[in-house]
């Protein structure tokens, strides 16, 4: 074993003993407690690198697409995040985001801008063109999120296009109907 390796080993041991409470330490010496070895999952490391780059909670969610809850818990454990089995996936994403100090504000702020711009359109066609070209509205989840921000009641089972049309009808269509009835008043 090289000098550096020996030094790293002792540092690891010192750090580990330092992290123990007096009680845990006594328990270990007396043989009541035991040390468990766990190898870091290579896959977790890759995912963690990807998750780290997320800017919002929803991006964290996207970067965990396809993962089972137990995989997410495993990532949490690697990151020493206090994850519990009873936590929902949503809570786990929030915990991961909090660990990396990722806030959800940025994306919502951007979507709020989309919401405000949408409300200014006077024709459904213009609104549709605007929404279909939005980078923030690529997935169905993104569109549903916008619908929630606008308080538009949608059926999540509907297609992306149907949900977009529903948003446009509720936001622009309703105003046009109101104007048509009120006429010049």
């Amino acid at each position: 074993m090289s000098k550096n390796e020996t030094q790293a080993l002792f540092e690891l041991i010192t750090k580990f003993i330092h992290s123990l409470s007096e009680e845990q330490y006594r328990s270990l010496i007396s043989g009541k407690g035991k040390i468990e070895f766990k190898e870091n999952n290579q896959g977790d490391d890759k995912r963690i690198e990807k998750i780290k780059k997320s800017r919002t909670i929803r991006e964290v969610e996207r970067n965990c697409t396809g993962m089972l809850k137990k995989d997410i818990i495993s990532v949490c454990e690697s990151l020493k995040i206090d994850a519990k089995k009873r936590d929902t996936k949503k809570v786990l994403f929030q915990k991961i985001a909090a660990h990396f100090q990722i806030k959800d504000e940025n994306e919502d702020d951007e979507l709020i801008k989309v919401k405000e711009t949408l409300q200014k359109f006077k024709s459904p066609e213009e609104a549709k063109e605007y929404l279909t070209n939005q980078q923030l509205l690529k997935t169905k989840k993104d569109i549903i999120h916008l619908a929630k921000l606008l308080d538009v009641y949608i059926n999540p089972k509907h297609t992306k296009t149907m949900i977009l049309n529903r948003i446009i009808e509720s936001v622009i269509g309703s105003q046009l109907s109101a104007q048509a009835i009120r006429g010049g008043t």
Partner: protein
């Protein structure tokens, strides 16, 4: 006011008036709905029959005008409902709630009023139009100084009786359910009120009533009624229509009235609106909402008067 029936006009009128009286205001309630639900929320059937015999309902008042062209004061019709005012006294409130009762046959009065609108010349038609539409306005002028607030419960239509109410009002509230047709209905109502205002003012200017100022009834706001809650917020299907109204820039109140059939359904029988009932947590929630709404109504009125 709202064309739609079953949106909570009477419940809203009764509770807002009772809360205002509880706060020490002198309030007059006028029931213009032939269904007489507001009347029967404060007066027992027997008492109402007695008033009918004495010809002290709004229908008899219109009859006097239609039959004899008599110009009777509304004072003759005013009653002070006993159960409610006793409750106010028990609560040590200095306020009072008076009532002008409706009549089931008021629906026929409307048709007869229409027959008064005609005339042989343009001038006669204009004069008749102003006279018929101003019945309530002219007579309320005589008694309005006696009250801090006069609240009129309108029928669910836009007939001449409703138009009488609009012409005589400074402000109107629109209780609305949060659904597609109710939301559209608000716009229809606004259009009709605006048309009425323009036509009435035009005719008023052209007749011998020029001393009367033109009318300008303003919508104080939309009150969302029968709201169902889930986890402390209105259910999403209703939130959509609330959001649509808010986006349309129409005035609305932030205090909503929740759906509660068991409480609102039985209250009229007691002669005392929900707002003055002692109650459980559900009743308390409703009372908070009504109080918050009355706060908003009074605040909005004051702001409008100042501006």
């Amino acid at each position: 006011m709202n064309y739609k029936g079953g949106v909570g006009k009477t419940t809203l009128s009764a509770n807002v008036a009772a809360e205002m009286a509880y706060r020490g205001l002198e309030v007059l309630l006028i029931d213009l709905d032939p269904q007489a639900n507001l009347t029967l929320s404060f007066v027992s059937i027997d008492d109402w029959k007695a008033l009918d015999r004495q010809e002290r309902t709004i229908k008899h008042w219109y009859d006097q005008y239609l039959d004899y062209n008599h110009d009777i004061s509304l004072k003759e019709l005013i009653i002070t409902p006993t159960r409610l005012n006793e409750k106010l006294a028990q609560s040590r409130s200095s306020g009072r709630l008076d009532l002008i009762c409706s009549h089931l046959e008021l629906v026929e009065v409307d048709m007869e009023l229409s027959s008064k609108l005609g005339g042989h010349t343009d001038r006669a038609i204009r004069n008749n139009y102003v006279n018929v539409l101003s019945r309530l306005r002219f007579k309320l002028e005589e008694i309005k100084e006696d009250y801090d607030m006069i609240i009129v419960d309108c029928p669910p239509n836009f007939n001449l009786i409703t138009q009488n109410a609009i012409v005589s009002s400074d402000y109107y509230l629109v209780p609305a359910r949060t659904d597609y047709l109710s939301t559209l209905g608000i716009n229809t109502l606004l259009k009709h009120v605006d048309t009425l205002k323009k036509k009435y003012n035009q005719h008023l200017h052209e007749t011998n009533h020029r001393h009367m100022p033109p009318i300008s009834p303003q919508m104080l706001g939309i009150v969302f009624t029968m709201v169902s809650y889930h986890k402390g917020v209105p259910i999403s299907a209703q939130r959509e229509y609330i959001a649509q109204v808010k986006r349309s820039r129409l005035p609305f109140f932030n205090s909503y009235l929740r759906e509660n059939k068991s409480l609102f359904a039985s209250a009229p029988e007691t002669g005392i609106p929900v707002i003055l009932h002692q109650g459980n947590i559900q009743q308390k929630k409703i009372k908070w909402e009504i109080r918050a709404l009355v706060d908003e109504v009074l605040h909005t009125m004051k702001a409008k008067v100042r501006s």
